[in-house]
Symmetry: C2
Amino acid sequence: MTHTMDGVISYVISIFTCLDSPAIQENRVTTVQCLSGTGSLRVGGEFLARHYHQRTIYIPQPTWGNHPKVFTLAGLSVKTFRYYDPVTRGLNFQGLLEDLRSAPSGAIVLLHACAHNPTGVDPTPQQWEQIRQLMRSKALLPFFDSAYQGFASGNLDADAHSVRLFVGDGGECLIAQSYAKNMGLYGERVGALSIVCKSADVASRVESQLKLVIRPMYSNPPIHGASIVATILKDRNMYQEWIIELKAMADRIINMRHQLFDALRSRGTPGDWSHIIKQIGMFTFTGLNSEQVAFMTKEYHIYMTSDGRISMAGLSSRTVPHLVEAIHAAVTRLV
Amino acid sequence: MTHTMDGVISYVISIFTCLDSPAIQENRVTTVQCLSGTGSLRVGGEFLARHYHQRTIYIPQPTWGNHPKVFTLAGLSVKTFRYYDPVTRGLNFQGLLEDLRSAPSGAIVLLHACAHNPTGVDPTPQQWEQIRQLMRSKALLPFFDSAYQGFASGNLDADAHSVRLFVGDGGECLIAQSYAKNMGLYGERVGALSIVCKSADVASRVESQLKLVIRPMYSNPPIHGASIVATILKDRNMYQEWIIELKAMADRIINMRHQLFDALRSRGTPGDWSHIIKQIGMFTFTGLNSEQVAFMTKEYHIYMTSDGRISMAGLSSRTVPHLVEAIHAAVTRLV
């Protein structure tokens, strides 16, 4: 870990592993400060392209638009696995299992730790366990993108469930942590890449190789945002304050989901809108088509991505009625 | 330019071009905020590897240790040109001209804008003009690493002479600017890559391609250090204060060069030490060999790189006598 966050590595790691995790106690985790989520993914990608025996990474279909570019430019070959089912607006679990089952042994698999972007659809704990068993049986390497920990459910532990399942079995994995959302530090570009290794010896060799990826990219990460993160993680009172604020932010988003769902039901808007309360995190994948989205933009000045993804963080009690009117008009006029 | 520095692009550019430069007035310069010098060089290197017709970059021999790695990983092929003459402890100007003359047309050439690292040896204004003529006649593309502007002579204009010569002739060039030394912002990783183009149209297309290099590397640059730079550049009083402090820093280093040179002469230390006052910037390439360096470390607890490079910024009036004793002992005992 380069400078600023040196003193808080164990805290950084504990957020996704638990402080009493054997991985920490056995010094099997190497962590380097990176430039938020994107920077952590890129450094991890370049490290894997240079040193890992398999150069193919499987990413969910759909996924965050930047993922394919980050990994392609890092030198990996990008393939997709089925993830979202437009009919149920939920997980295509059978498709996911089939695609991972037919991936070559040792391939890298990108997983969203929680609050899948853009769909808001996450596997259940039971499904995560099945994914873990399948991946470990085929020696597939998990690379977690953890951009919303604590921001999804309001609980850091609950949102780390998937990562902890994989760290807990003693196998290898990578975790790209972003503090952009859960600490509100978008502009400071603070994040961390952690690689859980099989032994302390491997971890220390991995760390020196990670430094060789970082040095010719930007030499060192910026200090300011990392100082903020380190200060909060080291101080028991600030940490508690952070946890409380995090829960307030997450609860507000969850509350907005219920307000929107209830209002659509009261309005009698055609369709099953239960995915709004089932989906997790900042985004709702509404299921509105691009024609309906364009209609809402033109007639109601509501702006969202053309795939129908809305940010729940941008919604308030005051604006729910206007959004409901717009959705109602869109789905009744344009089927 | 991404967010923070948007409001000060013309100031950023003017530092190396002059505010009334045609390049600025004709909107032919595109500038993006990057992670200090290294980050600017890497983004520029990746851009060239992807879009420029020649993939070979010539770097001086010797040069900053990180240069070959930055450009190799960016996807360029690295070759060297002769630069330093160990006999004169000065510039090998004939070797430099010969090597650039035999470079393939269109090749990229890395030039240190001022205060060459590690040698402290810069071409004279007349030599720069000869280099410019040769490079333009062969369509060699200049890529300036500007890490010490204002820190070398104490004057931003004087230290920009080489860059302004090339910008002034209307041709293309790249400039990687670091604010690590001249604004004391090492830890904040703030710098800028500027590309001087032939037209405003090309510049705007170059900018959109630069964003496509940055987005999958770290999405956006960090805000804090850039806010400091922008604040200083926008405020006339702060800018003046900065200029004065910059000159004080540079003058102290120049003064240390004279104190060290005078003390070696007074002590009667064998050898011609005039290179100490001829060399420019933070470093002195002493000419001490690795055996002498090891002796000084062992007997006098003086630590420097094994190639004999010392940082003048680390020297003070109080420590000059001890250093002179050590150098004297080293060169008289180990020839």
